[in-house]
Symmetry: C2
Subunit: 303 residues, 2 copies
């Protein structure tokens, strides 16, 4: 299928195709890849009146993003995507700002340690430290939501397991976008959606998983939450695009959570691609999805 009913997603695909690197050029270094992602994030507009400032939380470098709509006490702990090897609060700031705005909350986006310099479970440890730091600052668990996209979606779910394991209180909920939740790349969608996913391939994620895990077991539930026992964790909202090689990770996570008696809502957005919510400037669907997630978070926050 090469035609799309949504003319906007066709436009996004054209943009992505135009950006595709020269196959004969040497692949960018990790530093170059990270700088390019940051540059894209820093070039995009934020919602009107949205502020951001560097901070530390539980000893972890972070960025506080404060939309005009933020209500006192409501916090989203945001863990960015980038395959555990790239991405930052800078690269993801525009989407984080829109999510925070929709949820009437302040976001705290953390600069967790990345592979290959820092292998698993450094990222999980940093997420736990940041969550614990928010509690230490006086945040009520019921006024905290953990959110993340792609690897950050997987990391948000790993954090759910880590909090359970350490006996820490659960937040009000988890909002995960296109989570990378199975680092064995075992899902059917790597086969069924390989041709229509313009950004993510099994080969790329296999390499990213090696860089993150450094030889450790990808079946560790803190690396691949699809292998975890989630009984007792807070409700989860999963949003995914229908054209993702990672589609099966979302379906399998919904199945795993459902079996464990976790309140789950899975939304599949037709024709949409990996983390389409980041294309809010172009895609009506991105704005609608963030609006629905905002309403869900609004309903979850205890104040």
């Amino acid at each position: 299928m090469s035609t799309w009913k949504d003319p906007q997603i066709a436009g996004v695909r054209a943009l992505l195709a135009a950006r595709r690197p020269d196959p004969d050029a040497p692949p960018p270094s990790a530093a170059q890849r990270r700088a390019a992602m940051d540059a894209v994030g820093e070039a995009a507009a934020l919602p009107e009146g949205c502020r951001h400032e560097p901070c530390r939380v539980g000893g972890i470098k972070a960025e506080r993003v404060i939309p005009k709509t933020a209500r006192p006490g409501r916090t989203i702990l945001y863990v960015h995507g980038g395959a555990y090897t790239a991405g930052s609060p800078r690269s993801h700031r525009p989407m984080v700002a829109r999510i925070a705005e929709a949820a009437h909350a302040t976001a705290v986006a953390i600069d967790y340690r990345l592979g290959p310099e820092h292998r698993f479970p450094a990222a999980v440890e940093d997420a736990v430290a940041a969550y614990r730091g928010l509690l230490d600052e006086g945040a009520e668990p019921g006024s905290l939501i953990v959110a993340g996209d792609s690897a950050g979606g997987g990391l948000a779910l790993a954090l759910a397991l880590a909090l359970k394991g350490e006996g820490l209180p659960q937040p009000a909920g988890y909002f995960v976008i296109s989570p990378w939740a199975d680092l064995t790349q075992g899902g059917a969608s790597y086969r069924t959606k390989a041709e229509t996913d313009p950004t993510i391939s099994k080969e790329g994620l296999d390499q990213n998983a090696r860089d993150y895990l450094g030889g450790l077991d990808p079946r560790d539930p803190l690396a691949s939450p699809v292998f975890g026992d989630f009984e007792g964790v807070a409700p989860v909202l999963i949003q995914t695009g229908s054209e993702e090689t990672l589609l099966s990770d979302s379906i399998t996570m919904a199945d795993v959570l459902a079996h464990a008696r976790v309140e789950v809502r899975l939304e599949v957005w037709p024709e949409m691609i990996h983390v389409f919510q980041a294309w809010g400037a172009i895609l009506h669907a991105a704005r609608r999805a963030i609006g629905l997630a905002g309403a869900w978070m609004d309903g979850r926050f205890e104040r």
Copy 2:
């Protein structure tokens, strides 16, 4: 697990246990089973001011249920559950009334033909005839939603395929509760949820499937929609309980629909049982679920 966080679902389970028939008594006949279901539905209260009247639509016997909130032109075509061998507009009237009230619509609940007297695809033919009848009466597809529970959820999804196959316009959406969508009983939840499902067993459904299919192939997509090609059908909302032997049918349907680029929302309600929405008089979760489904339908109706 024998303790439940939700005291109301524990109460429903106690009621179901008290109702369990004497294992030494002869099993009820189909007529007795149907009469008992009708009696339960007719004994329960309807929302205040809700009217109902017999009607025919496309030649199919039906019942029109008109809540006080109904807006002109909005119609829910409702296909009841009962394993394709029992159930009726009478047995399901209280839940249908609450769903219609929440969606600000009139419901038309059809008395489609049941097995074993009328085997597959009689039920599908009746659903198509009723849908066509509503169009013939002047209904706009954008102001129609098809809804159903259990076997009726499967039948609603079979209708989606049949409408596609016959080139009829799609409705505004499908709302399916705990659908029985795989008549091979192939899902993992028949094993994983056998102990916590108080009403539905694989053995029972195997018998119901034989009664409905009369030797025909359970892998026909109009009998088991999990085997269908849904590309192009209208958005689908699936609600299911986490303690259902039919849980996997909902997860698999979400997967099948997602792969086919259909807009899907899957909600899994923790600790809840098969068609828990029918227990609105007791369960807060039932009322919340119907409320959320109503809001979803409200957003889908074009007027």
